[in-house]
Symmetry: C2
Subunit: 185 residues, 2 copies
């Protein structure tokens, strides 16, 4: 818009110094004079063109700068997404293992160790902005939860997640994997 206005202004300026008009003003216009006027008109149009070219390049540069800043920001925000996705099967196995009941001391101490490692990985994920999605007891949210089963139970509210089959995970504002859940209708 700004650029178009500039263009118009420059065209008007160019029109006012039209060599033909100035030629009419003088009675004895030498040939040398008209050559010089031609050269002036040519230079003025070249100058106008050079200035417009500069403005266009500047606009391109500004756009590129803005785009590449956005690219860098998006790249940084979700940088760990691929590794996090690849870690989810391990997290699922942890959760399965932690549902076991230890029937002896060694197994019990091993379970404690496993839970500690599991928590430390959850902590590392949290630091990067990734967390399990809350599901059980929450209202069903189609953006976060995937209903793989529906039930009708009177002791639960309507549209409430009554069971979680597999944990979902979110990275900042992006769902990496939805929770697999059972919903009460």
């Amino acid at each position: 818009m700004e650029k178009e206005q500039n263009l118009e202004q420059e065209e008007m300026v160019a029109a006012e110094i039209d060599p033909e008009e100035t030629a009419e003003e003088t009675v004895q216009q030498s040939e040398k004079g008209s050559e010089e006027n031609g050269r002036i008109a040519e230079l003025e149009s070249k100058l106008e063109e050079a200035e417009n070219r500069y403005l266009r390049l500047q606009a391109d540069f500004d756009n590129f700068r803005r785009r590449s800043r956005l690219d860098l920001e998006a790249g940084a925000k979700y940088r760990a997404q691929s590794l996090i996705s690849d870690l989810l099967p391990a997290m699922d196995n942890f959760e399965r293992a932690l549902k076991m009941e230890a029937d002896n001391d060694q197994a019990k101490s091993l379970m404690q160790g496993v839970e500690m490692v599991y928590r430390s990985i959850l902590e590392a994920l949290k630091k990067e902005g990734a967390e399990p999605i809350e599901a059980e007891g929450k209202e069903f949210d189609p953006n976060m939860h995937q209903a793989v089963m529906q039930v009708q139970e009177e002791n639960f509210g309507s549209n409430i997640v009554v069971e979680e089959f597999q944990k979902g995970y979110i990275l900042k504002d992006r769902v990496i994997r939805p929770s697999m859940v059972k919903v009460n209708q």
Copy 2:
């Protein structure tokens, strides 16, 4: 800033085609000729300046493009470094746990589960370009290994790592954490 300069230039152009000035030109031919020559010289210098300004901007743009491509590449290459560093304590705990000897069936099956999870995390790290550094039996490499103990044993070669106390990790060409080792002198 740049725009203000443009504005100033346009004002100067407008001032030069003042109708009063052109009226005076008709009176004295010789004066007119030299005025036109002055105008030509002025336009030529402005044109040169505009072209140089364009070339400088173009060079800046090219540099910016190159730099931001390198920034994006470096950002992508080591994108998971922070999460990987935060996962290393968990990997250390896995390795400690896997050195245990199971004395009953439940503990044995738990250990197998733990090893499976450990391997799946190692696999996820490898996919991202991160791997444990080889140490035991290798020649000591000060870029990869940190010697926390030195020994003199005849049944090992000189400058060979004889024991690893803590695994080191490398991400592509970058050492995330060196191996802590015992070296034979």
